[in-house]
């Protein structure tokens, strides 16, 4: 009885799965950074970036549909860019009058909005590709290898480890509640109770979960201390990167730099 949907890793034996986690992490971050740095409205480069990520998706055997479905995750963030449609100065497309308010949609606004939407969508796909083809512990090791502060990596690791425990705990609480959510044997009683009472129950459950998490963290800390934890996270040394890894890094990085330079030229 566990919650499975949280683990994004998909088993596979593709070349993307087999690539060293450090290479994948560095290239994914570089890809996202490049996508962010490309100026507004340079559409050809967006298409190239998209082509790059989609060919890797196909190579990984994850299935384009799978990645697209997960990439829908980007849409709520795109909403944050919605005001740009109306606040960017430029050629006016049309105006709406709402009472005393007048809002105007502009052409540069539309361009800016779609650029940001497209860029975040492409970036999310790169992140999905990374997490779906690399097991989480390997990503953590890779983070350590590229000198992300150890404490930060340790916190991310613990969070990942206990997120599942916590989700399972929440699942059990919800089950215990539904097991007692019944109907009276005499008809005529409206089941479910008042909304405020239900909210109170849900609040109690959230509080319960919170107290338990704190208590669990105390127990975990004591267990760590009793095995000699002194605030310093020690790890095994990482194996050296092989020549083939360096080649992958250089090719990947080279393509990204090329795209960036190209985009600046087109933008000019």
């Amino acid at each position: 009885m566990h919650i499975h949907f949280l683990d994004p890793y998909q088993r596979g034996h593709s070349p993307v799965h087999r690539t060293d986690a450090r290479v994948k992490l560095v290239l994914s971050v570089a890809f996202i950074l490049t996508t962010a740095l490309i100026p507004i409205g340079v559409w050809p480069i967006y298409v190239l970036l998209f082509a790059m990520v989609i060919s890797l998706v196909i190579l990984s055997g994850l299935g384009v549909g799978f990645v697209f479905k997960r990439a829908a995750l980007a849409f709520p963030f795109v909403l944050a860019a919605l005001p740009l449609l109306f606040t960017t100065p430029g050629l006016q497309l049309f105006s709406l009058t709402l009472g005393t308010w007048e809002i105007t949609m502009t052409l540069p606004g539309v361009e800016r909005f779609f650029s940001i939407a497209l860029k975040s969508w492409i970036s999310v796909q790169a992140a999905i590709l990374l997490t779906a083809t690399t097991q989480f512990p390997d990503i953590l090791t890779a983070m350590r290898a590229v000198r992300v502060p150890r404490l930060l990596v340790a916190i991310i690791g613990l969070m990942w480890r206990y997120l599942f425990v916590l989700a399972d705990e929440a699942l059990r609480l919800i089950r215990a509640r539904s097991a007692r959510s019944g109907e009276a044997d005499v008809p005529g009683h409206r089941k479910g109770g008042r909304i405020s009472w239900r909210a109170q129950t849900a609040g109690g459950m959230a509080g319960n979960l919170f107290i338990r998490s704190i208590e669990r963290s105390e127990r975990i800390y004591v267990a760590m201390l009793s095995r000699g934890y002194d605030g310093e996270v020690r790890t095994m040394p990482h194996p050296k990167l092989e020549v083939s890894n360096w080649i992958e890094l250089i090719i990947g990085g080279g393509i990204l730099i090329l795209l960036l330079v190209l985009s600046l030229l087109i933008w000019e």
């Binding site: 097991a179 007692r180 019944g182 109690g204």
Partner: protein, 237 residues
């Protein structure tokens, strides 16, 4: 006259493909007390979660003559009192009173009735003085008793318990056994506590790898050392 629990060729797999129950059939008569034993991961908890429709597999489950399904879920959940292994999951409200009152309040019963039900249930588990206590601060044995009270308040016909004696000291365990002995309900109890099975349950069902491998009189099955060994169980002294 209907039977309390009628399960017919129930099969269930978890979403990850793990088959937890395989063609399980089981009939329990009203007021019968049955023990469900088997090694860890045998499917005991999964089976229990089918009795009130929290999980649903293929095959049929009938409780008190009602087929467990979407339409009957409300009634079924009131008829089957499910006590989970961890009382911390069962007790999700801040105060004991709120938790015992949850079932009847959810059913929309009048406040007077709710009050009576809470008092009766707490009295039945000998915890009447605890109604205003904070659940979080109780001992394991106290929490177990309160957890049972939270389902008694729904006036169920069937009581289903998952590992009721796990984590209890001998005295709390003994007093829980006495309590279960006195309750005049149909009972299905999943447990690893073989002395408890011997003491309390005339009938036992052995589940292993999702199948019922034995179902019969406890006094007879307990003598079959080979059978017990084969399914990771031990004969009590």
């Amino acid at each position: 006259m209907h039977h309390s629990i009628e399960i017919e060729s129930l099969t269930f797999s978890y979403p990850d493909g793990h088959e937890a129950l395989n063609d399980v059939s089981l009939v329990i008569k009203p007021c019968e007390k049955v023990a469900l034993v088997g090694p860890n991961g045998a499917g005991k908890s999964t089976l229990i979660l089918h009795l009130n429709g929290i999980l649903s597999g293929s095959g049929s489950v009938r409780v008190c003559g009602m087929k467990v399904g979407k339409e009957t879920l409300g009634r079924v959940r009131a008829m089957v009192g499910l006590v989970f292994q961890s009382p911390d999951d069962q007790l999700f409200s801040p105060r004991v009173y709120d938790d015992v009152a949850y079932g009847p309040l959810y059913q929309g019963l009048p406040l007077q009735t709710v009050q009576e039900r809470v008092e009766e249930s707490l009295a039945a588990v000998a915890m009447s003085d605890y109604s205003q206590r904070i659940s979080h601060h109780l001992s394991m044995g106290e929490k177990k008793r309160i957890a049972i009270a939270t389902v008694l308040s729904m006036k169920p016909e069937v009581l289903v318990l998952d590992e009721p004696t796990a984590g209890l000291d001998p005295r709390a365990r003994r007093s829980l056994i006495n309590l279960l002995h006195e309750l005049p309900l149909t009972m299905l109890v999943s447990t690893h506590d073989m002395p408890l099975v011997k003491d309390l349950f005339p009938r036992m069902v052995i589940l292993d790898q999702g199948r019922v491998v034995a179902d019969g009189q406890t006094s007879i099955l307990m003598e079959d050392k080979e059978l017990l060994d084969a399914h990771g169980l031990e004969r009590p002294f």
